[in-house]
Amino acid sequence: MYQIMVIEDDPVIQEELSVLLKSNGYEVILPKDFFNIISEIQKSPSHLILLDINLPVQDGFKICSGIRTFSNVPIIFVTSRNTDMDELNSIMLGGDDFITKPYNTSILLARIASLLKRTYASEHAEVLTYQEVTLHLENSKIEYQGNSAELTKNELKIMVFLFRNAGKIVPRADLVEYLWDSQLYVDDNALSVNITRIREKLKSIGVTDFIQTKHRQGYLI
């Protein structure tokens, strides 16, 4: 479980960011006191810091320089000012990445994930298992009782999303959005085609009725 500290003075954004991060499997630390922000950071170390530039008391740049005196924790600057000066400043002062408001959540999450991956050796098992069906992410194969079939890029992403939400009904719209976030621009029809193909492949390795269609709601494994 990675811990992310969100330093942001807008209460709504702070709260919603923590909801978003929690629902994507991160723990969130929220500092309360902007006057002693540095000591708060020292007291509760995190794996990554999201840092707003426009803050009360002192701006994000100063805080960043302060953090860099004692820690190399990855820092992503979040700002509504998208001047290149800001971008340069943030990189000069030891920020690792820079993202502007209003940010796109998928981009934000992708940046967080890649920064964590770069900083901390990947601790993910690149394998997902559910009801004896195993998904191998690195060679995009699906396996059941020793038989395996190869999946295309789209099919693999669809399966990853279904596995991550195993036991829950996944709305088609969510699935399409997830694919778009992974830069696979699949439309509704193509999604149906992909699901059909996955079912055929599952059948070939001896799995039937693994993916259920819930009429007007979505898919379920």
């Binding site: 978003l20 426009n54 509504s80 000066m85 981009i107 621009y185």
Partner: protein, 337 residues
């Protein structure tokens, strides 16, 4: 200054001389002076007056010609009163004083307006930055509570973002020089970022996306090019037709990278096509129920000029639109790492 006009100005003096001559003739005749002597006197008198008038004409003509030439050479013509030589004649001095005073008051007015404009621009920029915070908050709220309604809201919020960005870049576009950061960016990265930016808008409008081998890199400012792509995508969505599609394709010849953005929307009529980059031009599409501001493409063009990107639009009414971006060749040596 024409000779005729000058003579007309000199008329009072000439009339005065003629009257004096007549009086003299009358007076001299009265005291029995010979007519021949009177005529010699008159001839000399007329000669002297004529010479004086002529010389003065040439002097004045030369003086004004020099002044006009100076004005011609001046870049900022309103500075003429500052750079011209101080006149010698009293009348000229008065005119000079008038000119200076008028200029001074105008300069004050101009600088006041400039200051006001600058303050307003700063306020607009500040306002845009401020409004981005609630937009972000709303986006996050929608993202965390996904439903059909919030998806529609997200699409609308994307439009709001577009408009705020447009305003920001309009305010900034005059001095792009101060705010850019050329680096090597991969085409596919900026395209994917622009698509992600408009995800909800594209999904809500059921637009399919095709990206064909855009794996080259270009040297440009990521932010500005992102804005340009955003505008083009927004236009493609706005003027989409049946089974809408947006395609991105790279087409590079002799080291020049060309990005083609193609849609199959309503297109642009032939008569509108030459004018689409004009500020405030809305054209047929803008008038037929699709609200158009005529700012988007104008800004795209302006930013492209600043970034050295060539932009060309091909379109036929009802056949979709194709925008081509010609990126400048990166002719500097890459640093070997």
């Amino acid at each position: 200054m024409r000779y005729k006009e000058y003579l007309r100005d000199q008329l009072p003096a000439i009339v005065t001389h003629i009257l004096s001559m007549l009086l003299c003739v009358v007076f001299l005749s009265a005291i029995d002076i010979q007519a021949s002597i009177i005529s010699i006197l008159l001839v000399f008198w007329i000669l002297i007056v004529a010479i004086y008038i002529h010389i003065r004409f040439f002097l004045r003509k030369r003086y004004f010609a020099e002044l006009l030439l100076q004005l011609e050479r001046l870049d900022k013509k309103y500075l003429i009163s500052e750079v011209m030589e101080h006149p010698i004649l009293t009348e000229d001095k008065i005119y000079h004083r008038l000119l200076k005073a008028a200029n001074k008051s105008m300069m004050e007015q101009v600088s006041e307006s400039k200051q006001e404009r600058k303050e307003y621009k700063e306020y607009i920029e500040q306002w845009i930055h401020d409004v981005k915070t609630p937009i972000s908050a709303m986006k996050l709220l929608c993202e965390n509570n996904k439903s059909d309604i919030t998806r529609k809201l997200m699409a609308e919020l994307t439009k709001v973002s577009h408009y705020t960005d447009q305003a920001l870049y309009y305010a900034r576009s005059e001095n792009v020089e101060k705010d850019y950061f050329i680096k090597e960016v991969s085409l596919s990265e900026i395209i994917h970022a622009a698509v992600a930016e408009n995800k909800q808008l594209l999904l809500q409008n059921h637009i399919s996306i095709e990206i064909n081998d855009c794996d080259n890199t270009v040297y440009t400012d990521e932010k500005w090019i992102g804005f340009i792509l955003n505008q083009l995508i927004a236009n493609a969505v706005k003027y989409s037709g049946k089974e809408p599609k947006i395609g991105f394709e790279e087409n590079s010849k002799q080291g020049q990278v060309v990005l083609i953005i193609r849609d199959n929307g309503v297109g642009i009529s032939e008569s509108d096509l030459p004018r689409i980059f004009e500020k405030g031009f809305t054209g047929e599409n803008g008038r037929t129920g699709k609200s158009s501001t005529g700012i988007g493409l104008f800004l795209c063009k302006r930013l492209c000029e600043k970034l050295g990107i060539g932009i060309a639009v091909k379109s036929e009414s009802g056949q979709g639109t194709q925008v081509e971006l010609y990126f400048p060749k990166g002719d500097f040596v890459k640093v070997q790492e």
